[in-house]
Each structure stands twice: as C-alpha cells, then as structure tokens.
Amino acid sequence: MDAEQEVTGRTPGVDVEASRRALAGIEPTPGVAKPDPILVADSVTRTFGGLTAVDVAHLEVQRGVITALIGPNGAGKTTLFNLLTGFDRPDTGTWSFNGTSLGRKPAYKVARMGMVRTFQLTKVLSKLTVIENMRVGATAQRGESLLAAMVAPLWRSQEKANTDRADNLLERFLLAEKREDFAGSLSGGQRKLLEMARSLMTDPELVMLDEPMAGVNPALKQSLLGHVKSLRDEGRTVLFVEHDMDMVRDISDWVVVMAQGKVVAEGPPDTVMADPAVVDAYLGAHHDAELTFEEEEKILAEAEAEIQKEAQGHE
C-alpha cells in the first residue's frame, strides 16, 4: 500500500528484502549476532537506587528491518531507549551506532548522527503550529545560528525548501489540513503522527519509536502501521517499543523480549511468541501454579519491604 509513496532523503542503498532474508537463518537466542548490525550494545547497565532497571549483556539491531522491543511493564524498555539515545547515562557499558561509539555522547549529537527517537508520552510543541513543529525538525538550518538569524536572506531559501519537505510529509501523514493549527489542539493519535513526521524531518537512518500505538484510536492504528512499514520500505531501520501484540506480529521482522532489565529472548515474531520464556516473562513465573496462602503472604511481605526501601531511598 505504501509502494507509491515518495522515498525521500538518505536511502543508503539498503536492500530491505536482502536484510530480511539475512535474518532468516539466524538462531533465535538472546544476544545473537546479526549479519549487518546498525546498533550494537554491550553490557549496558543502569540502576536506580537498588533497582537494576537495565542490564543488557549484548544486543544487536539489524539494519533495514523493523525490530520490536517488547516486555512487561517495568522491564526497562524505555530506560534502554533513554540510554541508547543519550537521554540518560548508564552505569556501565558501551554501545555504538554504525560502528561509532556513542558513550557519553549528548542526546543532540546522537540525533544528528541519524538516530532519532520519539517519546512514550508524546512531546509535541503545543504552542507552536503544526508546520512550525515540522520546521524545527529540519537539520543544519543556517537560520538557527544567532548571527545569521537576523539576516533573513541568508536562510530564506533553505526555509522554503524545508517547508516544502514538511508539507510533503504532512500530506503523507494526513496532517495537511491541520497545518496552521496549534499542535496542542491535536488528538492523541494525531500527535503521535506529528511526532513521527517531525522526526523524519531530520532524515534519520534509525527511527526509535517508544510505544507509537499507545492511546491511538483503532481507526488510526491501521494507518500508523502503514507509516511504520513505509519507513522500512524507504530504507530506514526501525526499532520500536510496543505492547500491542497484534501490531508486533503484523509488522515486525524481528522481536527482542526484555524482562527485569535483561534480554530474555529474541527471534522472528512467531518463534518468540511461542517461546515459554516469553510467556513467563509476561505473566510471571507463577502463572500456572495456584498460589498457596503462605506464598501469597510472602510475596506481599516482599513487596512491602521493597516499597519501604524505596521510600527510604527518597529521603
């Protein structure tokens, strides 16, 4: 359905079909090496107080395909996103993008390298119009330097080109009608669309979407799915966090499962969904055995102790 859509920007000669085929022969075990990884992370850990939020031994993300990152709440998916994109600093670990190490690189530099993210709680610029939101996304703007800013002729032509590109994207993401509206007036789903479209203004190689479907009404979901697929089809790599299993099964080429900060499984969608380790991760190890009264008490006491510890850690 997206085959006719305009393919813009950097399409670094990725043969999508080849990339997908390359994944076929890979053994579905956690931390397995990929034939052409765009993103590689090694022993990345992050703790908050006593809680280990992320503890990833090894992870590779294949170029040119859609990789889903799934796991129960609190598995550390968003924290991992923050770490990889420079929004948070890990306690240990190294990670690289296209072979360049990203350790201690600030978030804006990571974004400039072509690795752009969206947020779980959508971050649109409410008091700016939709088209202004889009324009902010464009990179290397001459008019963004203080001295050139005051001399409009220096940046006007570039601004025009960026606006054209933005209008094309708005058209594609069905937001053209909202062009002059304040972004704050958009619905939740439209905000997700705007955020995604805006991130494309930076012309990224790797797009990282944090729960793109959360809070989106079912009618919009299908079109969003199409958009994510179209990203891959124009040669970009997609890594996304999602809870909606139908979506994961529908569009992803590869699935990585996290639980309690660790990568517990990865593989093609069908294989992973059938993996008992994944079912355990989602429903907890005790899901099939009835809890005895003592066990229940014990679990409650543990939870209580943890809350206490947490509370003390705050003071």
Partner: protein, 457 residues
C-alpha cells in the same frame, strides 16, 4: 470515611502534642529570668527606637557574682578615629551611647568602643580596653568589659569558633523549621513559594501583637507574655497557612494553574503581604518586652544565654517531633507518598487535598514559630522573612528540594557556614558566602545533598 476521620484525628493529636512540647520547653526560658541584684552587674535593655545605640556594662569579675563598676568613661570612635559619643557607667555598671543619625547610615560600618583606663577605680585592671564592633543589623549593640585579672587578650580561633557555633546553631534550627515548611509544601504541591518569608514574618508579628496587648500574663509569679506570644504565633501561623491554602492555592490548583504561574502569584503575594505588614507595623525594628537582654552563662570561655539554649533545645525538639510525625504516622506517610507521586497516592485512596491542607497548616505554623523565635533572639521588622528567604531557599535546594531530611541538613549547613565563615571573612560577607556555597553545591550535585536524580522520559 472512617479512615479519613482517623487520619484527621492523628493530625490533631500531632498538633496538640507539638503544642505541648512547645509549652513545656518555653517554660525553661521563663525559668531563668534576668533579675539583677543591686550590686550585681545589670544588663541594659535595648532602646526601642530607630537609632542604633551601643549598650554595655562594666563588671568586676573577681567577685562572685560580679559587681558593677560605676564612673568609668567610655567613648565610641569610628574607623577614622573620630569620636562619635561618650558615656560614663552608672551605678549598675551600665552605659548607653546613642549613635548620631539614623540606623541606615551606620549599617556595614565598624566602630571601636574604648575604655578610659584612668577613670577606673584603683587596683582594678581591665581585661580588655577596647572592642571593635561591626554594625550589620539595625539593632542596638551590646559590649561587655570585664574587669579583673588580665586574661588572654584575644580569644583563640578555637574559642571564637565555638562561640560562633552557638549563634550558628540558633540560626540553623530556626532556618530548619522554616525550610521544612517550604520543602514540604514544595514536595506536595510543586509550588516554589516566594511568600514563605512572609509566613515567617507573620509569626514574629503575631507574637509582637500578643506581647503588646495591655496587661501581662503570669503563671505563679513568672511573666510569660512573650511565651504565650510565641505559642500564639505557632497556632495563628497554622491558621494563616490554612487560610493561604484554602483561599488562594487550592482554588488555583483546581483551575489547573501552572507551577510557574503559581510561582509568580506567590511573588505578588509576597509583595502584597510585606507592604501590608509595613502598613500596620511600621518600618522600625521591634523587640519584645521580655528577653531583650538576658545575662549569659559563661561556660569556659563561651557565652551562652538561656534564651539561646532554649531556642536550640526547642528547635531540635520541634524538628525531631515533626520528622517523627512524617516518618511514623499514617498522615506523615501519606504526606511522603503525595510528595513522591500525587497521582499514585490519590489512586491508592489517599485524600491528596487533605494531606496538602495539613502540610500547609504544619508548614506555616513551623515558619511562624521560627519567625517568632527569630524575633526573640534578634528582634524583627517587616522584612525579617524576606531577608532570610534566600537562605531558606538555599537550605532546601542544598539538601534537595522536596526532601525532609534534606531541608534540615541544608539548614544546618547554611546556618553554621554563615556564622563560621566570619572567622575568615568580613561579617558583611557572611550571607554572600552561604549563597556561593549553594551555587557551588549545585554545580557538583545538582539534585542537592540528599535528593535523588530525576529520570527522563
């Protein structure tokens, strides 16, 4: 409903308990009144006017208790050595020299008080013949010239440090009380309250008006007017806090007013209240009718007045009590839960508005108590709270905004640092030092000493 009632009851009990401890401790203060025997060395009462006076006494310390030395000539000189005034010690050994002009002219200057040795009675030797004082507050200044066997001419740095610690501790506990209120209000509502200083001044004013009511309040022959005033400040301060929240902040929260907007509203409130205070109380520095001049105890080389000790003990007791309440009672736990995550707290059945209301009452009561006690220890004017507001902020930010222990630790760091820094720098720079310390700590540890780092996303 039953839970809500019980929680309300806990709050009431806690407040009553706090009040009781307050009353008990304040009587300690009354237990050591400054009554002067005829031959004993008296203390001068500060003059209640706009000018600064140098007050002093000359005592012969070889006698126990020390006796007054009358008829000694004393002069005050400015930095250029020019004589500004003189006086002769009276029968009770005291003297008063009014500095000419208004208090503003003298602020930040330093004067030397010189004893004329030739006018001393025969056979006596002064331990010290001149003292230099810095005028930093528009209060009267007191100097003491002990007469007797020549002691060490200048106290050692260590003694000086210990002496400064006394003042530092007094300031710290008062700062901590004020900071605790600010921090709790910030923690539960997110409001950076620039009108918190006015809650402090409010306490000093309430105590003052109670003190000024005609008649005196006595219990068993001991006058306790000011003690009642301080207690009154605590209670009325709590009511004022409730009023603040109910009339202004709660409706604003309901409207969904942003935090920055609320911060600016608090600036307007601060300006409004400060000028209302000046409207009704005037601009001059005020002192209460009691404890203006209390005879200090000499412990080793250190002077400690009963009121300083009382304030320290009372302050520590109040802080311990408040933190215990927050730590162990249901309401305290609820408060910390709200501070941590209001949405979650609300979802677990905690009545967030009730918690915030209680925090406002408690926080404002603590601030008012701090204000009244500041008034007791150093006098006050309508700007009392506004002047120390920055130090209160410094204390809370230093310890970690919104944390309970952070506010207290921060207050002690700031309070002691302020006083002890005068060992090395000019006293006029002591606030500067404390504020610089704040900036340096934020550079090293942005979340404050005890705060936790924030998570993004």
């Amino acid at each position: 409903m039953a839970i809500a009632l019980r929680r309300g009851a806990t709050a009431t009990t806690a407040l009553v308990l706090l009040g009781a401890v307050l009353a008990a401790l304040l009587t300690v203060m009354a237990g050591s009144p400054a009554h002067a025997a005829e031959t004993r060395c008296a203390l001068v009462k500060p003059t209640d006017d706009d000018t600064i006076s140098i007050l002093g006494r000359i005592c012969d310390r070889r006698e126990k208790p020390p006796v007054a030395v009358p008829g000694v000539r004393v002069t005050v000189e400015d930095e250029a050595g020019e004589e500004l005034g003189e006086a002769t010690s009276s029968e009770d050994g005291t003297f008063v020299i009014d500095l000419p002009g208004t208090s503003i002219e003298h602020l930040g200057k330093s004067y030397t008080v010189v004893l004329d040795e030739s006018t001393l009675p025969e056979g006596t030797k002064p331990e010290i013949t001149s003292r230099t004082i810095d005028i930093n507050l528009d209060n009267d200044q007191t100097v003491i010239f002990p007469i007797g066997d020549a002691g060490p001419a200048k106290p050692s740095k260590f003694t000086e440090a210990l002496q400064l610690m006394v003042g530092g501790l007094v300031f710290s506990v008062l700062l901590a009380m004020a900071a605790l209120g600010l921090s709790m209000i910030f923690g539960t509502t997110g409001l950076t309250n620039f009108a918190h200083g006015e809650l402090i001044t409010f306490g000093a004013l309430v105590a003052f008006f109670i003190d000024r009511l005609p008649g005196r309040i006595e219990v068993g022959g001991t006058e306790i007017t000011v003690i009642v005033g301080v207690l009154g400040a605590f209670l009325v301060g709590g009511v004022f806090g409730w009023l603040n929240d109910t009339a202004l902040w709660r409706p604003l929260r309901r409207r969904g007013t942003g935090l920055v907007a609320m911060m600016i509203v608090s600036i307007g409130l601060s300006l409004f209240l400060r000028n209302i205070y000046q409207y009704f109380a005037g601009a001059q520095t005020r002192n209460y009718s009691q404890y203006g001049a209390v005879e200090p105890w000499e412990i080793g080389d250190i002077l400690l007045t009963p009121k300083e000790l009382t304030v320290i003990l009372l302050g520590v007791a109040v802080l311990v009590l408040t933190t215990s309440l927050l730590q162990f009672t249901r309401l305290g736990k609820a408060t910390r839960a709200v501070a941590d995550n209001p949405g979650l707290a609300s979802a677990t059945g905690i009545n967030v508005e009730r918690v915030i209301g209680t925090v406002w009452i408690g926080g404002a009561a603590l601030a008012a108590l701090a204000g009244a006690l500041l008034g007791v220890t150093q006098g006050f004017d309508f700007q009392l709270g506004f002047r120390i507001l920055l130090l209160v902020f410094a204390a809370t930010v230093l310890g970690g905004l919104g944390t309970i222990w952070g506010a207290i630790v921060g207050a002690f760091v700031i309070g002691l640092f302020t006083e002890l820094s005068t060992l090395f720098v000019d006293p006029e720079f002591k606030f500067v030092g404390a504020l610089l310390l704040l900036i340096v700590i934020l550079l090293i540890r942005p979340q404050g000493l005890l705060g936790k780092a924030q998570r993004i996303g």
